[in-house]
Symmetry: C2
Subunit: 556 residues, 2 copies
C-alpha cells in the first residue's frame, strides 16, 4: 500500500523520458487511465534492418478496461507515429487538435484503421472531460502548428505536461503561447510539471521562426538560379515562409516528396497553410519556367538514402536536376545519428555546382524546443511543487534537473523517470512506486516484436563478415560422403578470386567428417560443431575474418 493518501494519481512513463522519440505517458487516477501521446522512434545504427521502434504497451493492455482515452499534444511522429501499431491491441478514443488529427487520419487511412477509430477534435485553450479527467489544453509554440500543453486538475493539485514547446514571441501564425494560462495555473497550484528538456544544453532563447523567413528573403534576393529548400515535412510554418518569400520574389513553388505533398495538402485544406494565389505549380511544370522563377520544396533534409534530396544530390531524380548556379537550402537540423549522411549529401550537392546553405554556415533553421532560459521561464510561470523532465536523452534529463534546482526547486522534488517508472503524487507528497512492464518493441516489415536480440546479433555478425555455409550429404548407413561438400558464401570475400580458399575449406570439411570416430559420427551435433570450428579456424587463419560458419549435413 502506498503511504500517500487516497486520491493520489500515478504518472507512468511508457516511453520518451531519457530517450528521444517514442513519447508516451499514462496518468492513472480513480481507476481510470489517460494516455498522453503515442510516438515512435527511428532505430539507431545498431538495430539493423529494423524499421521503427514503438513503446511496449503491456501495462495498458493489462489495464485496458481503465483506459479512457488518448490525448495528443501535437502531430509529430515521435508523438503520434506508434498509434497505428497500438490501436489494433488497444482501441481507445483519441483527442487532439485539428492539424494533429488531420495528420493522424492520413496514417489511420493507410493502415485501414480510420473507420474503427473514434477521434475528438479540440483546440488549444479548450477545457473538457476524458472519462473523469478534467483536461485543459494550453497553446504553446513548436516546429509544427497547433500543439498544446496539457493541464489535468486533481484534488491534490494540477499536473501540467508541456508537450514539446518553446516560447516564440512573434510566431508566423500570430498565435502566441498562452502565457496567461500558464501563470494562472501557477497561481492555482501546480503539483507536477512534466517538461520538455531537449534543448537544456543550449543557452538563452531560441530565436523566432520569423528569423528564418528574413534569411530566406536575403538568400532569394541574391539567387539567380533554381532554389531548392529541404525541410521537415511537418514544419508548416517553415513551408508558409517558403511560399511567402517565393511570392515576394516572383517564383513558383513545386513540392517533392510524398510526405511533404501530403502534409501540404492537409495543412492547406485545414487552414494552417495559406498558399498565395498562383504560386503553387506541379513538379512536372518546373521545366516550363526559367530557373530563377522556380523553388523546389523537398523532404530529405536528413540525407536518408532514398529521400528526394539525396536522389537530387546524386543526380538520380527524374524531374529535379541541380545545375551550377542553383541554391540549395538545408532548412533543418541533423537529427542525432544522421550527421554524416547529411554532410555527405551536402558534399554531393556542392560537387554538382550548387551553392549549399546549411546550419553550420548560416541561420536557416531554428529549433522547436525551448532553450535554457525558456525552460526556466516555464518553471517560474507554473511554479510546480515537483518536476519531471520528459522528451530528452538521459543527459538532458540530468541537465534539466540541475536547471530546475537552480530555479529553487529542492533536489528531492525533481524526479528522473525512465520507461516503466511510476511516480505517485498526492496532497502529501510524491514518491516512486515499483516499476511496470515497459520498454520498446521493434517493428520490421509487418512483424511487430519478432525481431529481438538473437536476430539482431546475427544481422550484426552477417554485416561484419558475411556467411559461409558448408553442405555435405552423407549416407546415413555407411557414413560416407555421397555429395558435396558444397560451399555457399555471401558477404565474406570476393568469391571469384577466392577459389583456393574455398577448396581449402572443403578439404578441411572432408577431413573433419572422415576423421570422426564412429561413435562421434552418430552424434551429428558433435560433427557439426567440429566442422564449424575447423572451417572457421582455417578461414580466420587465412583472412583474419570471422564469417558465420554454418555446417549443413544431409542424411540420405
Amino acid at each position: 500500500m502506498s503511504e500517500i493518501e487516497n486520491g493520489s494519481a500515478k504518472i507512468i512513463t511508457l516511453g520518451g523520458v531519457g530517450e528521444i522519440g517514442k513519447n508516451m505517458t499514462a496518468i492513472e487516477y480513480g481507476g481510470e487511465i489517460l494516455i498522453i501521446d503515442c510516438g515512435l522512434m527511428f532505430p539507431d545504427e545498431e538495430l539493423l534492418g529494423v524499421d521503427i521502434v514503438i513503446p511496449d504497451i503491456t501495462y495498458l493492455v493489462e489495464n485496458a478496461d481503465k483506459v479512457k482515452g488518448m490525448l495528443l499534444t501535437h502531430g509529430h511522429e515521435d508523438h503520434i507515429g506508434a498509434i497505428p501499431y497500438v490501436l489494433p491491441r488497444l482501441n481507445v478514443p483519441i483527442w487532439g487538435s485539428g492539424l494533429t488529427l488531420g495528420l493522424l487520419q492520413a496514417k489511420l487511412e493507410e493502415h485501414s484503421l480510420l473507420d474503427t477509430t473514434e477521434l475528438h477534435q479540440v483546440e488549444p485553450g479548450d477545457r473538457f472531460k476524458i472519462g473523469n479527467f478534467d483536461v485543459e489544453t494550453i497553446r504553446v509554440s513548436h516546429s509544427i502548428p497547433d500543439g498544446f500543453a496539457i493541464a489535468l486538475r486533481f484534488p491534490f493539485g494540477i499536473i501540467v505536461h508541456t508537450g514539446d514547446f518553446k516560447f516564440d514571441q512573434t510566431p508566423i501564425d500570430g498565435k502566441v503561447v498562452d502565457f496567461g494560462k500558464f501563470t494562472q495555473l501557477g497561481l492555482e497550484g501546480v503539483s507536477v510539471l512534466l517538461s520538455d528538456s531537449t534543448n537544456v544544453e543550449k543557452p538563452g532563447y531560441v530565436p523566432s521562426e520569423r528569423v528564418v523567413g528574413n534569411k530566406f528573403e536575403e538568400i532569394f534576393s541574391r539567387s539567380f538560379g533554381k532554389i531548392i529548400i529541404a525541410t521537415f515535412a511537418s514544419n508548416i510554418h517553415r513551408m508558409q515562409q517558403v511560399y511567402n518569400t517565393a511570392d515576394l520574389y516572383d517564383r513558383k513553388v513545386a513540392v517533392v516528396g510524398r510526405s511533404m505533398a501530403q502534409n501540404t495538402e492537409i495543412a492547406e485544406r485545414l487552414g494552417y497553410l495559406t498558399i498565395p494565389e498562383g504560386v503553387k505549380i506541379e513538379l512536372k511544370e518546373i521545366s516550363d519556367y526559367p530557373p530563377d522563377k522556380v523553388v523546389v520544396m523537398t523532404t530529405g533534409s536528413q540525407g536518408e538514402p532514398m529521400s528526394a534530396l539525396t536522389r537530387i544530390a546524386t543526380n538520380d531524380h527524374k524531374l529535379v536536376k541541380v545545375q551550377p548556379g542553383d541554391t540549395v537550402i538545408i532548412s533543418a537540423t541533423s537529427i542525432p545519428g544522421n550527421e554524416s549522411l547529411v554532410m555527405r549529401m551536402i558534399n554531393q550537392l556542392f560537387k554538382r555546382g550548387a551553392d549549399v546553405i546549411y546550419d553550420a554556415i548560416d541561420f536557416v533553421h531554428v529549433s522547436g524546443h525551448a532553450n535554457r532560459e525558456e525552460l526556466k521561464l516555464m518553471l517560474n510561470l507554473t511554479k510546480p511543487r515537483y518536476t519531471v523532465p520528459v522528451h530528452g536523452e538521459y543527459r538532458h534529463v540530468v541537465k534539466y534537473s540541475e536547471l530546475a534546482h537552480e530555479t529553487g526547486m529542492p533536489k528531492e522534488n525533481i524526479f528522473r523517470m525512465e520507461a516503466g517508472d511510476v511516480l505517485e503524487v498526492g496532497a502529501d507528497g510524491a514518491s516512486m512506486l515499483p516499476r511496470v512492464t515497459a520498454g520498446y518493441v521493434l517493428v520490421d516489415g509487418i512483424g511487430i516484436g519478432d525481431v529481438g536480440d538473437i536476430v539482431l546479433r546475427d544481422r550484426r555478425h552477417l554485416a561484419d563478415d558475411g556467411i559461409f555455409v558448408v553442405i555435405i550429404s552423407i549416407d546415413r548407413v555407411t557414413g560416407d560422403i555421397v555429395a558435396g561438400p558444397d560451399v555457399i558464401s555471401r558477404g565474406f570475400i570476393y568469391m571469384d578470386e577466392a577459389e583456393a580458399l574455398v577448396e581449402e575449406a572443403k578439404q578441411v570439411a572432408i577431413e573433419t567428417v572422415q576423421g570422426m570416430s564412429d561413435e562421434a559420427a552418430e552424434e551429428w551435433a558433435t560433427v557439426k560443431q567440429d566442422l564449424r570450428s575447423a572451417v572457421a579456424k582455417r578461414l580466420y587463419a587465412r583472412t583474419h575474418r570471422r564469417p558465420m560458419v554454418i555446417p549443413v549435413i544431409m542424411e540420405i
Copy 2:
C-alpha cells in the same frame, strides 16, 4: 604534351582532398617523385565490416623507380596510418620529425617492417634534400606536437604544403609557429599553397590549447571524486596538461587504453611529454588511493563500442568503475559519424551518476585545425599565386575556395583537386592534366582489396533482412527429392516462433521442384531461380521482409 614549359612540376592527389582522412599527395619533378603523407581513413557506416580504408597507390607502383622518398607532416593516423600497408608494395625511405617517426616505428614493429624500412629524422626548420627535391620544414601548431609544413623550391617558385595546422600563439611547449619563415617564403615567391581547409566553416581563430588547461584547473578545483579524462591518444599536449593539473591538485594519473599507454611511453621517452615526479601510477594502483586523489586518462572519446571509456560507461571495465560523485571529461570532439555513439556513452555515464563535462556544455576541447581567420592569415603570409585546399570534405574545399577568393585570389587560380587529379604548375601557369589511377582500397582483416562492391552489397542485404537458405537433395536420375528441404536462416526472424512460416516455405520449395517440367528440371539454374523467387515471394507476403534467399540443390 603539356603547354607549360619544361621544368614544370606535377601535384598529384592520391587521397585526402575532398574527404577527411587518407591524406596522400605526390609531387613529381624532373623524373622524381616525392610522396607527402600516407594516411588511412576509418570506414563510414556503409562500408560494413571494413577495418580501414587506404589510398590506391597504383600510380606510384607503376612509377616506382621515380619515387625518391616519403615525407610526413605529422604523426596522425590520417597521415601515417596507411604506411604499413603501402611499404610491402613500395619500399621507400621515409622522412619525418622525432615524434612522427616514434609513432611510426611502433606501427612498423607490429607489422614486422621496422628492419626493412629506412627512416630519416628531421626537425621543424630543417632544410635538406630528398633525391633532388630541395625540402624545408616549417613549424606549425596542431593537435599533436612536432608537426610541420613543407616548402619545396623549384625554378618556377615554391610549393608550400601546410600539413594540418593552426596558429597557436601560446602553445603548451612554447614552440610557436614559424611566422617568419612563412613570411620569408611569401617574399621569395610561393607558386602554390596546398592548405588545410577542415575548419573553414568556423569563424575567427581557434582558442589556444592553454584554454583547455585553464578549464581543467577549474574542474579539478571543484571535483571531490575520481576524475576520468578521455582524449585522443595522440594529443600529447592535452595529456601534458592533464599531468600538470593533476600535479597541481595532488592527484595521481593512471592511463587506460593500449594506444594511450603506448603513446605516453613514446612521447615521454622522446622528450615530448614531461611527467611530474610521482604523479604517474599504474592502473591497478588506483584502488590504493581515495577517489579525490585519482585521475584516469583514457582513450574512447569517440564512443567506440570496445573502447576503454565505453566499457567504463557500461560498467564492463575490471579496474575502473564510475561512482556517483565522479567527474568524466570528454576532452575531444566527435569525429563525423560518431556523434550518436558519443552521446549514448555520455548518457550511460550520467546514468552511473557521474558529472559529465563535454563539448556541448563546456570548453574542454579545442580543434587542431585553423579557423577562417587563420586560413586567411596563411594565405596573406605566403602570398601564393595558386592555391589548392587539401584535407577537408568537399564542402570545405568549396568554402575554402570562396575564402581564398575573398583574400584577393582570382577564381581561376584556385584548384579543387580530388583523388587522381593532377595539377601541372610551372613558370607560365598552372593547369589540370588528365587524371591518374587513384581512389581507395578497403582493408578487412588481412585482406587488402578483396572486399568490393559485391561483398558490401551482400553484407548490406544480410544486415537488413538476414539470410534464408533452402537445401534440397535430388536424385540425379529420377529427379525425386531424396532429402530435405532443409532450411537454414539467420538474421531474418526469430526462428523458434516461426515454425509455421518455415514449414510453409518448405512446402513452396517442394511444390516448385515437383512442378518442374522434365526439360526445365534439366536446367538446375532455372530450377534454382524459380525456387528462389517462389520462396522469396512467400516470405515477403508473410513478413514484408526480403531476406537473401539461397536455394541449394544437391544431386545425389
